[in-house]
Symmetry: C2
Subunit: 248 residues, 2 copies
Amino acid sequence: MPSTFKNIKLVVSYDGTDFFGFQLQPRHRTVQEVLEVAIKRILRETVRVHPAGRTDTGVHANAQVVHFLTRTRIPVNKLPQALNSALPEDVRVLNAQHMPKTFHARFSARFKQYEYAVYNSEIVPPLLRRTVYRFPFALDVRQMRKGAKILEGRHDFRSFQGKANGQENTVRRIRHLRVSKSGKFVCFTVEGDGFLTNMVRNLVGTLLLVGRKKLSLNDLSQILKSRDRRLAGPTVPALGLTLVKVIY
Amino acid sequence: MPSTFKNIKLVVSYDGTDFFGFQLQPRHRTVQEVLEVAIKRILRETVRVHPAGRTDTGVHANAQVVHFLTRTRIPVNKLPQALNSALPEDVRVLNAQHMPKTFHARFSARFKQYEYAVYNSEIVPPLLRRTVYRFPFALDVRQMRKGAKILEGRHDFRSFQGKANGQENTVRRIRHLRVSKSGKFVCFTVEGDGFLTNMVRNLVGTLLLVGRKKLSLNDLSQILKSRDRRLAGPTVPALGLTLVKVIY
């Protein structure tokens, strides 16, 4: 590639409610599409943006990271404002910077952090309705914390992989998985070196069964060992999930 | 009134974004209208609901309180779920209870607490776009706290009354007015025995000028004393304002 190309990293925040996920899809509104359209309009170049993680339909991002190659001469510090002027209000570029050519949003990422927000009540306040999962059943948070400890570390997470056409290598490392409670919020924060399809939502769905005492800690260990998706809990809805940050 | 009437208090939460405020208005969608329609559908009675405070267009509520008189035989503990089944998703009834006949949502209220959320940055994350006021200028929070102290207590707040056709008696008591900062959030929490039209938004607009050093603390004292709306700061937008709670 000619040396006139620059490698730009963007930090991007979005409300996933009205997107069919990050990745381009014909006839569907996606984050990638609106980013590439805005970049084309502002930089007058057709680029391909590469995300740290392809979030699914309805999943939010506080600080997704993408990179793309460009010949633009627009100063990088002007890019956020310029791109935001061309973006819909449910996507914002928070930051832009030059990176070495070797930087790749996905392959250079060491860890990604996701948060899953449960609202443990019959009724969800309307201002939270797009970002929390309503869960009306009693939860034992201490028990879920013990369950989270079982899941931390390097494991084959095949039992928590969503789709049949998933990854061949299903071993991942969860650096930490924390369960916090604040008022009616129960929040799952998970940081790992990579995640299988629906993995966070399946881990949370299974931990909620532990919290309801429908599964014991021993059951959870067995599910992890089984490498059998049918034994794990349900996939919780996308709206509670947010990609919080990417660590390089 | 016949003794078969019951006085019901509801605690109501709403996302004010798509409402023309609380109070009924012809040809506009209001919180009062959707509540009265839902009550009519569930209780089969035409009632009038009375709020603790008539929030303006775009203002949110965590825990607005309303009361109404009814002959219904539906147990009060079943009312939230029943009413929520008939309400749009941007309004939820959090709680319902029987009250003595003397209870009035507005006249029995001793204090109301409002919160105004400022996001002190060029760029607002999309998930916050309906609930915070974007404010890109540097703010001196300590100076605003000193300003808030000047406004606390019992004063004639005529300088901060929005409309010409306002209240005759413009004396109110602010029990406390706190300015807190957490990351890029600057939050104003104000509790008082009553508020004039746009008073909270005018107080915040004026304190933001203090925070920008466009007004000194002495200027602020003079504005308060002047009883002249033209001297105070601008009315900040409704979207950052939330009625947090009503104290009886």
